[in-house]
């Protein structure tokens, strides 16, 4: 099977996934106990106001009809109105999304920049002091919750040493990268730990392979042996893991944005939860899932590109 057909098949496979995501998000707010209208109104709930909110949300209709309406609006890219900010959810998400995407991409790059060289270092110093120390550091990174790591960076590197700004987005591209450095480091650190550990194991395995001996035997400089032969083959097994964790990383943006007060969709979700803004919660849950699905698709396509055996 050619790569083109593989791409097409992978895309078709995701159609039922998208359909099910839609159903699940729809049911999330409607099947769980708890009535959005009374929850939103709290103490102010009277029969009349509850009925009015239910009518506004459409939650007084039969569930099948609600689903059809939900689907119809969704196809037009309409997630309804925010009940707190009084603007279309789509517009809200569109406004906040770039921050989250930039932060996630930055964190991803940071994770790779940290993990790949350190994985090589660990593998080449296997069993020695450096290997043990780095492995300990990454294990620590995995046991530490993102919010705590973020607070530590914020206090020590930001407030105390004043190396980095402690919030806000900055102005202009360079300043923005400077402002987002700590949030991206916070968000990317656990991903770096996961990749470094897995890549270290993969490199050790690849180093045993005959083709590496052959590359060395034919007199290829060690730099090229490691870069061209070892890294590419070691990456194959790491790419899938990277994809899975990238999805979780986007979830971590919820916490990072809250700690560093960044106006992204993660922060929007937390605000919506506290404001009981159900249309926003619904829209965001959906957008997060769709985003991660695309990451999974991209991961599979990239892996097949790296390793043609996958699609042949």
């Amino acid at each position: 099977m050619g790569y083109g057909r593989f791409v097409l098949r992978r895309l078709l496979q995701s159609v039922p996934t998208f359909a099910l995501i839609t159903v699940l998000v729809f049911l999330l707010v409607r099947l769980l106990p708890g009535d959005p209208a009374s929850a939103m109104l709290g103490d102010r709930a009277t029969d009349a106001t509850v009925a009015r909110i239910n009518a506004a949300l459409g939650t007084d209709q039969p569930i099948a009809l609600q689903f059809l309406r939900f689907l119809g609006r969704l196809l037009q890219g309409d997630f309804g109105q925010s009940q707190v900010l009084h603007m279309p959810v789509t517009e809200l998400i569109g406004e906040r999304m770039p921050v989250t995407l930039l932060l996630s991409a930055y964190a991803m790059v940071m994770a790779i920049v940290i993990a790949v060289p350190l994985a090589f270092l660990m593998a080449l110093h296997r069993g020695r002091m450096l290997d043990t120390v780095l492995r300990g550091m990454f294990q620590l990174g995995l046991s530490m919750p993102t919010f705590y790591l973020g607070l530590l960076f914020l206090t020590v590197l930001g407030a105390h040493l004043r190396l980095f700004p402690v919030g806000g987005l900055g102005r202009g591209p360079v300043d923005m990268l400077y402002h987002l450095f700590l949030p991206a480091l916070t968000l990317g650190f656990s991903l770096a730990a996961v990749i470094a550990r897995s890549l270290r194991a993969a490199i050790l395995e690849v180093l045993e392979a005959d083709y590496v001996d052959f590359a060395r035997a034919k007199g290829l400089p060690e730099r090229l042996v490691l870069g061209r032969h070892v890294l590419r083959n070691a990456l194959i097994s790491t790419v899938t893991l990277f994809g899975i964790n990238l999805g979780q990383l986007i979830g971590g943006a919820v916490i990072t944005e809250t700690i560093f007060s960044l106006p992204g969709v993660g922060r929007l979700l937390i605000d919506a939860v506290f404001g009981r803004d159900y249309p926003v919660i619904e829209g965001l849950t959906m957008v997060f899932a769709v985003l991660v699905s695309f990451i999974f698709i991209a991961t599979d396509l990239f892996q097949a590109w790296l390793d043609p055996r996958v699609h042949q």
Binding site: L20, L32, F147, L151, L152, A159, S198, G252, T285, F288
Partner: protein, 277 residues
């Protein structure tokens, strides 16, 4: 919150298992009788001794209300271990059962289940749990429910895969050949051989549950004040981090140590099972 593939060599198995088990045993003990080990009442205010740094009287210092941080961190152990156990116990049992049945019988249930897995993994775990807590309302019980509603899928996926492998082995064919019923084959023959990876994953999952629970606690969606939980303790101290580091550092360390304990114990169990094969 992250999925890790472990690369530990099988040699260190016993040291890993012993250190992990000791950490968890001490934590369990503290969780069972926090009143015996904690020097003070974790909720008592002392306006004359607010934000006091660590001293002999208060080893971990005091917070902005003069509450003893050592006592609060110790009492919080009970809440966080509860999160680890209560939010994963139902998923590990129900999820594994469902996974075993699906793996054994296959058919339409298998097709439906695989679709469900494809979908559930596309939601970042944290986002889905926050979404469910948003509907149910904040609090520990709802946190358990939210984690449970999602988490069982991962155990079912694991159990299904294990049963599929075990089913093809000779001893399973032999058991079937002897005319044993499905229940006997599943629980007496397949389960004991399939349970290793499930237990290992459970250990990891409990550590993840603590990370998740403390994160939600930090955000104000998990344990509610005045209940001491590591995440809420850190949230309490976050505005004093530059001046009173002790409020956040000790609960943070507790989370890290708990994570280490579970991950060492999990690695140890995995190594032990690998050695047995």
């Amino acid at each position: 919150m992250t999925v890790a593939i472990d690369s530990a060599p099988p040699r260190r198995s016993h040291a890993t298992l012993i250190i992990g088990t000791v950490i968890l045993a001490v934590m369990l003990l503290v969780a069972l009788v926090p009143g015996l080990v904690a020097p003070y009442d974790p909720l008592r205010f002392d306006y004359h001794g607010t934000l006091a740094p660590p001293s002999l009287a208060h080893l971990f210092g005091t917070d902005m209300y003069g509450r003893d941080m050592l006592s609060r961190t110790l009492w919080a152990t009970r809440v966080d271990l509860q999160i680890a156990i209560f939010s994963t116990l139902a998923p590990v049992i129900i999820g594994s059962l469902i996974g075993m049945l699906i793996g054994y019988y296959g058919g339409i249930a298998d097709v439906v289940f695989n679709r469900l897995v494809d979908v559930v993994v596309t939601f970042p775990f944290l986002v889905l749990v926050i979404g469910i807590v948003a509907v149910l309302g904040p609090g520990l019980i709802n946190l358990y429910i939210a984690i449970g509603l999602v988490d069982w899928v991962f155990f079912a996926r694991l159990a299904r895969a294990e049963i599929l492998v075990q089913c093809r082995l000779d001893y399973a064919h032999a058991a079937r050949g002897l005319g044993y019923g499905p229940a006997r084959i599943l629980f007496r023959h397949l389960l004991p051989n399939a349970i290793g990876p499930i237990i290992t994953y459970w250990m990891t999952d409990m550590a993840l549950a603590i990370l998740l629970g403390s994160s939600l606690g930090y955000l104000g969606l998990g344990a509610q004040p005045p209940l001491a939980e590591w995440g809420t303790l850190i949230a309490d101290g976050k505005n004093f981090m530059a001046t009173a580091w002790w409020i956040t550092v000790f609960p943070g360390l507790a989370i890290v140590i708990a994570g280490f304990g579970f991950s060492l114990a999990g690695d140890g169990v995995a190594d032990l099972l690998r050695a047995r094969e």
